[in-house]
């Protein structure tokens, strides 16, 4: 029973990260910002704070109570200044809680960690959980494969939990995943049944235990889901805060997995194609993005962590022969198609581009998603083409995860497409 209580309590602990530092009832950060949007903004701010804190030479236990208490105090302050406790939709919040509880229960029972989680992700989280800092982690032999932030979150929320079991930290990934999905339906308030159909359908398509087995793809997926919704809002409203939060999301991507840099670059390049993107803003966007990369590079240099510990070598790329290129390409197409069939989002998106070809370059959001898709495909092909590794083995073990991660970019596009075509009204309602 204590485990059930711990899961329930964890939800409320995680929820605090939606409630502060910005005032969810009042903040004017987004012009049309709903409470939920501000909640997501808070989550993004907190995650970015945690990235900075995780790099400092302090033990987790020395600052975690202060950080968490500060968030609680700020939330209480907002709460005391307002008659209405929460402007979150109670029904949506209840569904959020129930889904979180059910999925967390599934994780608490299945427990089995993924291969890479056993190999290094979990061990990296143990460094923080056992009160060692980033500097000490940099001495761990498998640290340089990937950044540390997902493992850090695992340790951070495990330390905050009641029973401190291993999975208590991992269920924060569920919270972020659900928060990102609920963020998508935030605007469509008029029909709750429709929203629940969307949420359950997305859960049915994307949820399986494996994505929560300690692997980090779910974090990138969730951040990409949030980012594309922010891109949509930015294109339509041109409010600077959206751009600011897009940059913050890009920063999170950078610190989760090595391939985060690829998604970072895809977004950076893709957004430059936005029409009427003011020159000043564009410049600011490019320089802040490059600044984030520079910051990470300097941190890695300082802690003597290799910047590229993946099997990519210039010599190998330069010596690729035509036969190998054709063989690799053939397999990338075969495995890519196979895993796209398993992840229906990735399969439907090109079909929508095809159906929507007349609007493809007329509608700005359509255009940007199309560009992101092309860049994404380019990334997947080059990731395998230039990797010095046995291709079939490599594709068999990683392609499904890359497809899943990438599909995060198209979830909102898909919902928005069906919504704009009124398919729900025509066929469902």
């Amino acid at each position: 029973m204590s485990e059930i209580l711990s899961i329930i309590l964890s939800f409320f602990i995680f929820f605090i990260f939606l409630c502060a530092p910005l005032n969810i009832n009042k903040s004017k950060i987004f012009k049309f910002g709903s409470t939920y949007q501000i909640g997501i903004a808070n989550l993004i701010i907190n995650l970015n704070f945690l990235i900075i804190i995780s790099l400092l030479p302090f033990k987790l236990i020395s600052y975690l109570p202060f950080y968490f208490s500060a968030l609680i105090l700020i939330s209480i302050f907002y709460f005391l200044n307002k008659k209405k406790i929460l402007k979150f939709d109670k029904l949506i919040l209840s569904y959020f809680f129930v889904l979180f509880f059910l999925i967390s229960l599934d994780i608490a029972v299945k427990l089995n960690l993924g291969w890479d989680a056993k190999w290094f992700w979990y061990i990296k989280s143990l460094f923080f959980f056992q009160n060692y800092n980033f500097s000490y982690l940099s001495q761990y032999e498998f640290n340089s494969f990937h950044p540390h932030f997902g493992s850090y979150l695992w340790a951070f929320f495990r330390e905050l939990s009641l029973n401190k079991f291993e999975y208590s930290g991992r269920i924060f990934y569920v919270f972020l995943y659900l928060a990102s999905l609920f963020f998508l339906i935030d605007k469509f308030k008029e029909n709750k049944t429709q929203n629940f159909i969307i949420i359950f359908l997305l859960l049915l398509i994307t949820y399986n235990y494996k994505i929560f087995s300690g692997l980090q793809e779910i974090l990138i997926f969730s951040v990409l889901v949030i980012t594309t919704k922010l891109i949509f809002e930015y294109i339509n409203q041109k409010i600077n805060s959206y751009l600011f939060f897009i940059i913050l999301c890009m920063n999170i991507l950078l610190w989760i997995k090595a391939e985060g840099i690829a998604y970072f670059m895809i977004i950076l390049i893709g957004l430059n194609f936005i029409k009427n993107f003011e020159f000043k803003k564009r410049l600011l966007f490019i320089f802040s993005s490059l600044g984030l990369i520079l910051f990470k590079t300097l941190i890695y240099k300082y802690f003597k962590i290799s910047l590229n510990d993946q099997p990519y070598f210039v010599e190998y790329i330069l010596n690729l022969d035509l036969q190998t290129i054709i063989f690799k390409l053939k397999n990338i197409v075969i495995y890519g198609s196979f895993y796209s069939f398993k992840n229906i989002i990735f399969l439907i998106v090109p079909a929508i581009f095809f159906l929507n070809y007349k609007k493809l370059f007329k509608d700005e959001f359509n255009k940007i998603i199309f560009i992101l898709f092309i860049l994404n495909i380019g990334f997947i092909i080059s990731a395998y083409m230039f990797r010095e590794m046995e291709i079939v083995y490599s594709l068999r073990t990683t392609m499904d995860r890359i497809i899943f991660t990438s599909s995060g970019m198209y979830v909102f596009y898909l919902i928005n497409f069906f919504k704009s075509k009124n398919y729900y009204k025509k066929y469902i309602l």
Binding site: I4, L105, V109, E390
Partner: protein
């Protein structure tokens, strides 16, 4: 009218999707499991005590013995790495003189070869076996008397072309007594696939149940056994 209203398509659809999702995660079973079994028991049910990943045994060793470094773990079942279950960050830079051996098969390791037709067989997981064994000692079958002229070893390259890496002449000799002594490490197999072609007038396939016998790198008699349970050992 009311019934008609509630049977509207959207509700039926919502119900179907909801039902499929609940079927996928099975909350009732999960709830009963979490109530019935505490976490250590659930972990043992999933990972095994001394079998498979043997996390139960590893946790027992960590609890019962004072470890001064993260021990080397050798599992003779090819599973994901399992040091995570007892890892201590404070021992990150320490070298351990202790070993935990899981699922020890004895001095010899038997490996089944998978038939691909035309007397070609695949030796699966060759890299893993190259880490736990020194030599291929024997090729044999309990079903049939093998008559082999040559054994050819191939590994695939990045373009999936197979290259001949070794050819051993056997010339129909009595294979039950003949030691092949083929060193797996010299193949530098890494994540590549390893194939064995039997050159013979006979045809062998899956039904022949051809196996390899490998020589175990590790002999527990060379160590002091601190603790043992079935075929799991804690060695010094």
């Amino acid at each position: 009218m009311k019934l008609k209203k509630y049977l509207k398509f959207k509700f039926v659809l919502l119900f179907l999707i909801l039902f499929s999702f609940l079927y996928k995660i099975n909350p009732i079973k999960n709830f009963s499991e979490i109530i019935s079994y505490k976490l250590p028991k659930r972990l043992e049910n999933i990972y095994g005590y001394c079998g498979g990943e043997s996390i139960g045994y590893l946790k027992y060793i960590k609890k019962e013995f004072k470890l001064n470094a993260n021990p080397e773990i050798i599992n003779f079942d090819h599973t994901p790495p399992n040091l995570w279950s007892i890892y201590e960050a404070k021992f990150n830079n320490y070298k351990s003189d202790k070993k935990i051996i899981l699922n020890y098969p004895g001095k010899k390791i038997q490996v089944n070869l998978a038939s691909l037709g035309d007397n070609i067989f695949e030796f699966k997981d060759p890299y893993y076996f190259s880490t736990i064994s020194n030599n291929i000692n024997k090729i044999y079958s309990k079903k049939t008397d093998l008559k082999i002229d040559y054994l050819e070893f191939y590994k695939n390259n990045y373009s999936n072309n197979s290259n001949l890496i070794k050819k051993s002449k056997l010339g129909h000799m009595n294979l039950s007594n003949y030691k092949l002594e083929i060193n797996l490490e010299e193949f530098e197999i890494e994540e590549k696939r390893l194939f064995i072609k039997i050159i013979s007038n006979e045809i062998y396939d899956e039904s022949s149940e051809i196996k390899l016998e490998l020589e175990n790198k590790l002999d527990i008699n060379d160590y002091e056994v601190i603790h043992s349970h079935k075929n799991c050992y804690f060695l010094n």
